[in-house]
Symmetry: C2
Subunit: 493 residues, 2 copies
């Protein structure tokens, strides 16, 4: 019996939760809103992290680590940033527990161990980092400063959802400092390209690159660039953001540098981040009713080999082929392969289990197959099975993995492309959102008020103004006021 | 001018701080007791982490991630563990800030956003992890569970010191679950061996493997195994610990499994960890008055090449040799090499800078060297310089790096071995501690009271009872009571 998965049609949210829990990606925890990332989920995150980390280093960034806590006085220094995060932050007020005199064996907060200044558990690290940069930057020679951090952050969300919205999550946050606005904007855009590259070529998730409206900007940013993906239920997911912070943090933390002419100016900043939320997006972009579908380039296990045998003699022959030929050949090509010869489970159970876990390629090898010099190869994305000759099988598998990577991307892209709909009236707008779902491309009068009103009426937000957006005269879909371009709306995670 | 470093003789503590700060490893932060790990220090940590991570995976462990917070009720479930950490833990009591009505532009804790149950920022994760394991373990088939976590933890230390003792630090914590006590003990010892292997063969720091006394045990452990290293000032440093936790946490969190006979029993546990404190130990074990000395196997930059030239023509010839021959050859051998052709600094300044940073090998290449087909190669550990032929230079460098790794280890070992002194009287005990320093091997009557008394009188603690310790009759160095073995005392970090 394989584990029961709710179908997407039946209940999309439950299907997602089933995949995350039963696919071994994550679990609920005893801490409200926090989750446990299980070994299989963490292995996936490691693959994603390593790929991203290499891309950051290839673009000249280095890693560092800054404190978990932000003293309240620093937290509030950049006013907009503080305002944006104050409502959802965990606050450390004491540094000791003591035995509860009224309740033996229990502990209580020690009132005598109250901190002079409260510490905020970082929801994002601009404040603590820019306070540090003040000591590191004096002259243009210290710039640019290109630093990234892999860390946990905490945002006290009231309504949480595994991976997509959790009180604590893992992420990376880049924080760079530059001598000119132009350089900082170029960095912001470069990192957006890195994210788009990663999303499309590693996660096989097509994304739209764009800019957020003022309402949707990161608190403290001058401009927020983003990549937006589409899930199979037609809802959008913000998959990464890159912020041009102007001189806001430099001014809040008094970070100046002397330029070549010895003139003092505030430093220009960017920050950019992606998080474990990407895993949620990955699950929802590709998977089906039988389980996860993971793109080969980030799948923790790319190939699983299941032996089918009766008795030790058959097992020994299969072992010999697998351990001495197939596995070494696949490993030499840097393919992660698992040989599941666990005696306690039947092949059918294993097949279902690896489908659930989204292993891209399954090889089943029986004694008769060996006699015929073939193996049965099943691909997870299309569920097609074929009998392949054992001669040259590793090469075949390698090209099959590439093919799967491309196919998953193309499938997601076809879905996404067919779910961008231009509308020209409010009725159409609501109808597409309710029935067809996906991105709605519509004219908007450019005001925050209209944006807010549309959100109230439709629960759709402006996901982004696509980069290099076509300029065209039109009328706002809600107010009828003049508009110069269409923007992308969607209901979103 | 090179950066000023206090000499060891002048002020050992200040020397250490100078190296950490000026060597670019870490910086102080605005948060009391927390530090910033700077890019160079973090690159070192990444090298250490990657080597350890591979060793953990090679011994069958997988990574996962558990919540940062421990609800108070879970924190206090294992009584001894709670008692051990209650006095130094950061407590989250609120989840929101609001604008301070009395102080415009400032924020204050929102009294209406008080948590029903306080959350402890993890000082270690046994509680949250064993509470999770309860849901993961039902039968012997679920065992062993071999999980590791890379994470930040917080212990509210009053007296902090960069890397060695900070309120927040980075570490890994393994948490394993087993069906039998024997298996758990074997795991505990296996991980101690992994740590010793890493310390000696990667960090080039010789360590003594041993067991802690009851007084020095991890809070909640049945037995704590440790590796102890010796710093150049004769003080010991605990470099890693591996705990056999018995069934303490399984009982506290009610984690039972059914064995093959369907009989229920509590699960057996281990935990083990090393932290960024190792970096402090690394610095103090090897470095000298000119700066850091890093073992090649974990040095972020293993080889630096400094061109010495006048004019573009000479520079172009050197560039050609370095970029087209030396660097590709060294990179092909997986050696991390930096070519510092920064025009703004003179070679002498660069030499001092890379000595400060502990780069194991420096190659200086001038135009005249090129004519003579040689390069000047300087090793950081001995400061010896030699002229090497450019023919076969990469191979020479590769073997030189190995030689340096061995030499650094041997030097530290010679120092350590010459600083283990057997003493048989209290006078001798104090004299060795005060004058010769290092480990003192002395008889002890085995009681916690005597151990405590010795600590009060001498500031020395029992670092460990070495594994496979020789049994011999003797008299306690303080009380004269009978003793069956010598143990290792030292003053320690």
């Amino acid at each position: 019996m394989s584990k029961e998965i709710t179908s997407r049609e039946q209940d999309y949210s439950q299907w997602y939760i089933d995949l995350v829990l039963k696919g071994g990606l994550a679990d609920y925890s005893a801490v409200k809103g926090c989750m446990v990332i299980k070994p299989y989920g963490y292995a996936l995150w490691e693959k994603m992290r390593d790929a991203l980390d290499k891309m950051f280093k290839d673009t000249g960034h280095v890693n560092a680590y800054f404190p978990l806590f932000v003293p309240k006085s620093l937290f509030e220094a950049e006013e907009k940033n503080a305002e944006g995060f104050a409502k959802e932050c965990a606050v450390v007020t004491h540094y000791r527990l003591k035995t509860d005199p009224d309740n033996k064996g229990k502990l209580m907060v020690d009132p005598e161990a109250k901190l002079e200044e409260e510490l905020i558990v970082r929801p994002t690290s601009e404040a603590i980092i820019w306070n540090t940069y003040k000591g590191w930057i004096q002259s243009y020679r210290d710039l640019p400063l290109l630093i990234n951090q892999w860390a946990n952050v905490v945002r006290w969300e009231m309504r949480t959802r595994l991976f997509l919205r959790t009180a604590e999550f893992l992420w990376q946050e880049g924080h760079t400092a530059h001598a000119t606005a132009m350089e900082a904007v170029a960095e912001t855009k470069q990192m957006l390209e890195v994210y788009a590259d990663f999303a499309e070529n590693w996660m096989a998730v097509p994304v739209i690159k764009g800019v957020k409206t003022a309402n949707e900007r990161f608190a403290g940013a001058e401009d927020t660039y983003c990549i937006e993906a589409l899930m199979q239920d037609g809802k959008a997911l913000q998959a990464g953001t890159s912020h041009f912070l102007g001189q806001n943090f430099a001014k809040a933390f008094d970070v100046k540098f002397s330029d070549k002419e010895n003139k003092l100016d505030y430093v220009w900043a960017t920050s950019w981040g992606v998080s474990t939320r990407l895993i949620g997006g990955l699950v929802m972009a590709h998977s089906d009713d039988d389980g996860l579908i993971l793109p080969p380039r980030i799948a923790p296990v790319q190939v699983v080999i299941v032996p089918i045998y009766k008795g030790d003699d058959q097992k020994a022959r299969i072992d010999d082929k697998v351990k001495n030929e197939l596995i070494p050949a696949l490993k030499a090509a840097n393919i992660s392969v698992k040989y599941d010869d666990n005696d306690n489970a039947r092949p059918g159970w294993k097949f279902a289990e690896y489908e659930l876990k989204g292993v891209p390629v399954r090889i089943a090898l029986g004694a008769r197959d060996l006699d015929n010099n073939v193996a049965e190869v099943a691909r997870r994305d299309t569920k097609e099975k074929a009998s392949y000759s054992l001669d040259g099988l590793p090469e075949k598998i390698i090209s099959l993995l590439d093919e799967i990577q491309v196919n998953i991307y193309n499938r997601a892209k076809a879905y996404r492309d067919s779910h961008i709909t231009e509308v020209n009236s409010w009725d159409e707008f609501m109808q597409v959102l309710d029935e067809k779902t996906g991105f709605v491309s519509a004219h908007w009068d450019g005001t925050g008020e209209t944006e807010e009103k549309i959100k109230e009426l439709s629960k759709a937000t402006i996901r982004c103004i696509p980069l290099d957006n076509k300029q065209e005269a039109g009328k706002c879909v809600l107010t009828g006021n003049p508009s110069t371009q269409r923007v992308l709306f969607a209901r979103a995670y």
